[in-house]
Amino acid sequence: MLVIKLVGMTLLPVILSFFLHLLKKKTSFGNFAHSDIVAGVVFGAAAVICTEFGVDTGLAIYNTRDASVICAGLFFGWRASALAAVIGSVERFLAPLWGVGVYTRWACSIATACAGIFTSLIVKYLFNEENQPSPTQGFSMGAFIEVFHMLMVFVTHANDIHKAFEVVRQCSLLMILMNATAVALAILCIDFSNGKKQIYGDTEKLSFKFGYGLAIAMCIGFAMSISFISILQKRISDTDARTLLASNIEDVKQEILATNKTSLFDMRNSATYRHIGTSGYLVITDVSGNLITGSKEYIGRNASDFGISISSATRSEMQRASIGGVDSYYIHDVLNGFNIVAVLPVDEAKFSNRISVYVSIFMELLVFAILFIMLNALERTLILKNVDKVNKGLKSITSGDLSVKLDVNGNKEFKSISESINSTVDKLEQLIDEANARMDEELLLAKRIQQDSLPCVFPPFPNRQDVDVYATMQTAKQVGGDFYDFFFASKNKLYIVIADVSGKGIPAALFMMKSKTIIRNLAETEADLSEVVSKANNELCENNEMGMFVTSWVGCLDTDTGILTYCNAGHNPPAYVSKNRVDMLRRVSGLVLAGLPGVKYKSQTLKLEKGDKIFLYTDGVTEAVNSRVEMYTEDRLLDLLSDKECHDLSAKELCIRVKESVEKFSENQEQFDDITMLCMEYK
């Protein structure tokens, strides 16, 4: 029955916490702004229930009022524990008015109030979203408050320390266990309902290792000091008991000698009314051990009946026996043939020792707990916070932001770390900039080489009146993959080439140089255009692991006949600009160059009239985008070229006109692709 009540008392805050927690999670209660106030009231009510229906043992009431306050705080915020504490402690204080035990009134009220303060402080400053209390910590908190509670019983009854000691002795262990377990269980239940495995105590973290080491050190310190105190106290109480017993015997002996009492009556008087301490007493026996002092039923009986053993061997030595059913120390001495026995119950002898040890244990528990919390807080402020700051800063830096500067200056060491990291990053930035600058320089040179390798003297054939060519190449990056070429393979065979290597930048540039060289070399040796292109394709397919390819348009104009022969290997169709019309030459001769070996390219022919122009371009023109992500498109190009104004423009003027149009269209958007164009006029 008692056990059931105790278990019920322990589980009360657990069930309440669990229930309210579920309510908070699953219903709109969780959204209610003052849910913590409501929780405070509910737990306050629980505290009252504990007081009113606690297990009353006459001396004290077993209850889990303090655990209720702690649970309120841990799960519903500092306001909840503060409110619950106020309700609980005030009610407890007033409770004697309607019959509840008055002995522990002050101790309990103060303890509950302090439970509220303690919990609220801890919840507000020590725990947060990521750092939730573990069951062990909850257990410790409950135990801490109960230890404090027990100390309060001593403190509030310093005047009748014996009774206080009895109360504490009887109920401290159970009270501590009940409250501590209640809090720990509540935490376990709620974590279980949240499905959490463990978000408290990542055992790899510094704070955990530090706390663990600190706890062990404190346990060792605690054990050492309590052992020391216990041993010392025992010695002292033993010595004090012996001294007390011996001096009482001496007094009696002196009194007898001084007043020359020899009669039984006189002896009896000396002893009977003498008290040793509070519960100790003197007994005088005759030479054979029969009592001559004491009340009627004792006189005449032998001392050994009561457990006192008198022999010359043990004279003046302190012995211990159960005398009259009470565990006692005693010393016996002899005077004038009578045995004088001084008896002191062990409980009284050890009382101050015990009280000392109890108070020491409780005090040390509290002190060590407070020290532990403070040292943890100190570690957190001095070390952890700064370490986190450094880590955060480094994270930003490693994710690419080299401009982040660390500024952790709580103490010299961290300041030094900050500064070192900052200067390292600065140095890195500097090295990166230098490397980039070198790279840029080289790319600039490469760009010059590329540009210079394309025919760039305009007008190219000042001595010829039958044909004119103008061309430009504008790379997107420093180096590009487009190229144009034009040259006379023989006196009347003018080759014009435009090409676009897949990709951009350095890889495209390298392949571009290769392609241009191969095409020109073949053109200068091969008579048949389709052979030039087919062979160029095969050569470019060799040693092309990277799978580069190049779209090209190669044309050969016979300046005598005006017949243009051309091959289109996957390139944008050129525009044929004549007096009456503008068309795209859409016949495709074959796959892009360097795609697959063995492709046979068929050439097409077109007869040019005087004044006709051929306009070659790469997709940098037709795919230029504006801010609305619209492309320039072939249609726009055709429209421009069809414009009557373009009729009489020279090759150069035409190219410039197209360039301006594209620039205007793209509205200063970043150039995405190489823009290349070539215009040939047959005059």
Partner: protein, 96 residues
């Protein structure tokens, strides 16, 4: 650009959405990865808006990689179709 991979025994289908250009082409190359045991490779270009030479290069590389297997590009929109036609890729790649 997003790539959705559908495995069906020795047939591998990649649904490519968005733009296939210099920046995104390496993603596709990596997604296709090793074609060991694959005899049929399909690129579904239904939601492909744009393809540049870098994209074509990946397709060419995969065409070479699959060797005797088949490579098909399907659901090309008009723009993409035109690119394939001009570059002559429609001549060497099955286009549906």
């Amino acid at each position: 650009m997003t790539i959705e991979k559908i495995e069906n025994g020795s047939k591998l289908t990649f649904k490519v959405c968005g733009r296939l250009d210099t920046t995104t082409a390496p993603q596709l190359e990596e997604a296709v990865g090793n074609l060991e045991g694959i005899t049929s490779l399909v690129f579904d270009f239904k939601d492909l808006e744009y393809i540049s030479s870098a994209g074509l290069r990946v397709i060419l590389l995969e065409k070479k990689a699959i060797g005797s297997g088949s490579l098909v590009c399907e659901n090309l929109n008009d723009t993409i179709r035109e690119v394939f036609d001009i570059t002559g890729f429609s001549g060497i790649i099955d286009v549906r």
